[in-house]
């Protein structure tokens, strides 16, 4: 921690948040809000005079509420930057009549009640997301009695009670009577590996954390009776098994079974656990003076502003989705963004440090270069066809289009900022936008190839590259079986799927068409898939007006992790296909025979594609 504070190449913005991110790999622009501390951190020398006179006392978050702090405080004694701050929510006010005591006693005049938040603009080439975790709140697991029984605490609270820098100076006591307990129990997997409540995944660190806690306790209090209730101890890392052995040799009892019920003896505050010991198959009761719930990790709670700013996705467990689970575990799907630590998945300190070094190395690959090649798949505008209507500008999630309706200046794409979703191309009513590498001509030609022969036997699927196509890959990797009738057309984003593609498919005799993309929060082009949704809704209306069943056009959001959903949707689509009659297909062909391509360019395109 100290090394960060004094490193000449690190500029630390503590008590600050990232407010805005724009740009792309190698060239991000970032706006940081540095929140007002009301204490000048460059002048404060942590003398502590302000704290002595502050009349406010509130629970100390760092000590898990076991002790109090003042409204002017330092988060922890070793804080970096080493400076006090005032929490204005707690402060009596900057009115000298109300209080103002701290400012009076501060010799160095560090305290400034009028300090404002500052905004700092940064330019960076790479971004590392190390936003960490939240811990599971076991209050909802009513059978464990957390918050109902005073002597039931969490493993994080345990850390503060055993720590020499903690509220008790490391004298381990229980909350009810401030006495050192003679017996203590640990319950494992609290909030982890639970299917119905809590979370289904293993939080990785809790087994070893408890093993460590028991060793610490036994070192301090050799006579304490310690019992650990577990389903299995996962001690797979280097040196872990040795520590587990040391704990058992120290007399800690490991009982395989998770307690089903806990009662409190109201007189003593002791706890009576009922547990099925799965080694002996017997129901046991244990009387313990204190209980520690070994709580798991949870991902940063939604909505997480960082997720939206960097257009990140989450896996089903809620942690950030990496670009590839085996081959690119450090990279985010957004280029130039990397993960370090628990933000990506639960891991211990050693693994966090390892991943952090890996993230530094990955980011270093970008930073070491003078120049980078950027996306070639961008849009171009045919200025002759463009009417400067500004629809493309409204649709562009990156606002990478310059156009002026009033002055009739036709649209122009800022290519370095264009990410290549193709939404502008799909929305342009005049066919003026061409999406490189995913042109209308290419896609019409793919539709032709699918539907030239036996169209009634095919399901036409439009899948976005990042999520639904990848969901299809996941179905394959997981060997999930589905019918052979589906034919995929990949676009970078579902936002690229033009109305014309869908209508043309129906006109060519497609029984059913699926448009699929990322879930809303997951779209790799910020919110381009919102345009997909609007467009599909428009199409449903259009089909209905023409007497075509709108259900034949389906819209599904499938993430890269949802192989199962992809396979299921394919099965559902096949069931729908079977229900579409030949007569219905013929009727649709006729109803859409007057399909008018938008813009003159597209007339040519479709004529060629069908030729």
């Amino acid at each position: 921690m100290m090394d960060v504070g004094r490193h000449p190449k690190i500029k630390l913005y503590a008590y600050s948040e990232v407010e805005k991110v724009s740009g792309y790999i190698g060239n991000f622009k970032v706006k940081v809000r540095k929140k007002a501390r009301y204490v000048d951190e460059t002048k404060c020398n942590v003398c502590g005079e302000c704290v002595k006179v502050c009349p406010v006392a509130v629970p100390d978050e760092y000590q898990m509420g076991f002790s109090s702090r003042k409204a002017v405080y330092i988060q922890l004694p070793q804080a970096v930057p080493s400076s006090y701050l005032i929490n204005m929510k707690d402060c009596l006010g900057n009115n000298p009549i109300a209080c103002g005591k701290c400012a009076e006693v501060c010799d160095k005049k560090c305290i400034d009640y009028d300090m404002q938040d500052q905004f700092i603009d940064l330019e960076v080439g790479a971004i590392i997301v190390a936003t960490g975790l939240d811990v599971y709140d076991p209050t909802q697991l009513d059978e464990y009695g957390y918050t109902r029984f005073e002597n039931v605490i969490t493993s994080l609270e345990f850390e503060r009670l055993i720590c020499a820098g903690g509220p008790t100076q490391g004298h381990f006591i229980r909350p009810k009577d401030h006495q050192t307990p003679k017996s203590i129990g640990f319950i494992q997997c609290v909030g982890s590996r639970m299917e119905r409540r809590g979370n289904p995944y293993c939080s990785n660190v809790c087994c070893m954390n408890t093993v460590k806690d028991t060793v610490l306790l036994k070192d301090h209090y050799p006579d304490i009776e310690a019992k650990v209730f577990y389903m299995d101890i996962r001690a797979f890392g280097k040196g872990f098994e040795d520590l587990f052995k040391r704990s058992k040799e120290g007399g800690v009892k490991y009982i395989r079974g998770i307690p089903g019920d806990i009662e409190e003896d109201p007189k003593t505050g002791n706890l009576i656990l009922t547990v099925e010991n799965t080694t002996t198959g017997k129901i046991e009761k244990h009387n313990l003076e204190m209980l520690v719930l070994s709580i798991g990790f949870i991902p940063r709670l939604n909505p997480d502003p960082i997720q939206q700013l960097l257009t990140l996705s989450r896996t089903q467990d809620g942690f950030y989705l990496e670009a590839h689970p085996k081959l690119k575990p450090i990279d985010a799907p957004t280029k130039g963004v990397f993960f370090a630590g628990v933000a990506e998945s639960p891991k211990d300190i050693k693994d966090s440090v390892t991943q952090a070094s890996a993230a530094a190395a990955r980011a270093g690959i970008i930073l070491a270069q003078d120049k980078l090649t950027v996306e070639a798949i961008t849009s171009i505008v045919d200025k002759e066809l463009c009417t400067a209507c500004e629809i493309c500008y409204r649709a562009c999630p990156f606002k990478s289009i310059i156009v002026d309706k009033e002055k009739k200046i036709p649209a122009e794409i800022i290519e370095a900022a264009c990410a290549g979703c193709g939404t502008c191309g799909a929305e342009c009513p005049f066919g003026a936008v061409t999406m490189r590498h995913f042109t209308d001509r290419q896609i019409f030609s793919q539709i032709d190839a699918i539907l030239d022969e036996n169209p009634e036997e095919k399901v036409v699927v439009f899948a976005c590259n990042w999520c639904s196509y990848a969901g299809g890959d996941m179905a394959g990797i997981s060997r999930l079986q589905y019918p052979t009738t589906s034919r995929l057309i990949r676009t970078m984003c579902s936002g690229r799927v033009d109305e014309q593609f869908v209508l043309y498919s129906f006109q060519k005799g497609a029984p059913v068409v699926l448009v699929s993309g990322c879930h809303f929060a997951d779209c790799h082009y910020i919110d381009a898939n919102r345009w997909t949704q609007r467009r599909v809704e428009r199409l449903w209306d259009k089909l209905e007006r023409k007497g075509i069943r709108p259900e034949r056009l389906q819209l599904e959001w499938i993430s890269a992790a949802e192989g199962q959903k992809f396979a299921k949707v394919m099965r559902v689509m096949e069931e729908m296909r079977k229900k579409v009659t030949k007569e219905e297909i013929e009727f649709t062909k006729k109803a859409l025979s007057d399909l008018k391509p938008k813009g003159t360019k597209k007339v040519k395109v479709m004529a060629k594609a069908t030729a």
């Binding site: 490193h7 503590a14 060239n27 190390a130 960490g132 994080l156 630590g341 590259n465």
Partner: protein
Amino acid sequence: MAVSGEELRIGVFVCECGLNIAGSLDCEAVRKYAETLPDVKVSVLNKYTCADPGQNEIKRYIKENNLNRVIVASCSPRMHEPTFRACVADVGVNPYLLEMVNLREHCSWVHLHDRKGATEKAKDMVKIGVARARFLEPQIEKEVPVTNKALVIGGGVAGIQTALDLADTGYQVYLVEKEPSIGGIMAQIDKTYPTMDCSI
């Protein structure tokens, strides 16, 4: 004819991927079918197209037959598109003139028990790939300058380590932490396993 007016010369390379693809569909039938598609000049079967011998064969066929569009019918483009783009670029074909057909993840692995259906679908998939490839155009990747500074969001143990490593490498690092001090959850922990030393 390609958009640019040159004659289209398409090569199709069907990959068996060991038994990953060949195990559940008839690769030879797919290869043969590809020969019948418009503008396809050669259609080749490989055991492992991504391995060096497979890639060398693609390069050889491109050179010998003047191919200007390449279809690799193997696995997901999310997996090997960069591999094959580099492969064709090596012999002077613009990497965007490569088209991948995902026979593995989207066909052989999901239709393990329907050899006939899978083979018919695979043929169709190659046909769709060729249809698209006929309209592919070369693309040029532009170069942009790089700001050689990094932003680290979060000052817990992971953020601290990344910031230090990058700074020690010589890059300017901005470390943003929302709490008043860095340290994160780690700073609340007393001793850490397996070394039983202090966390701070």
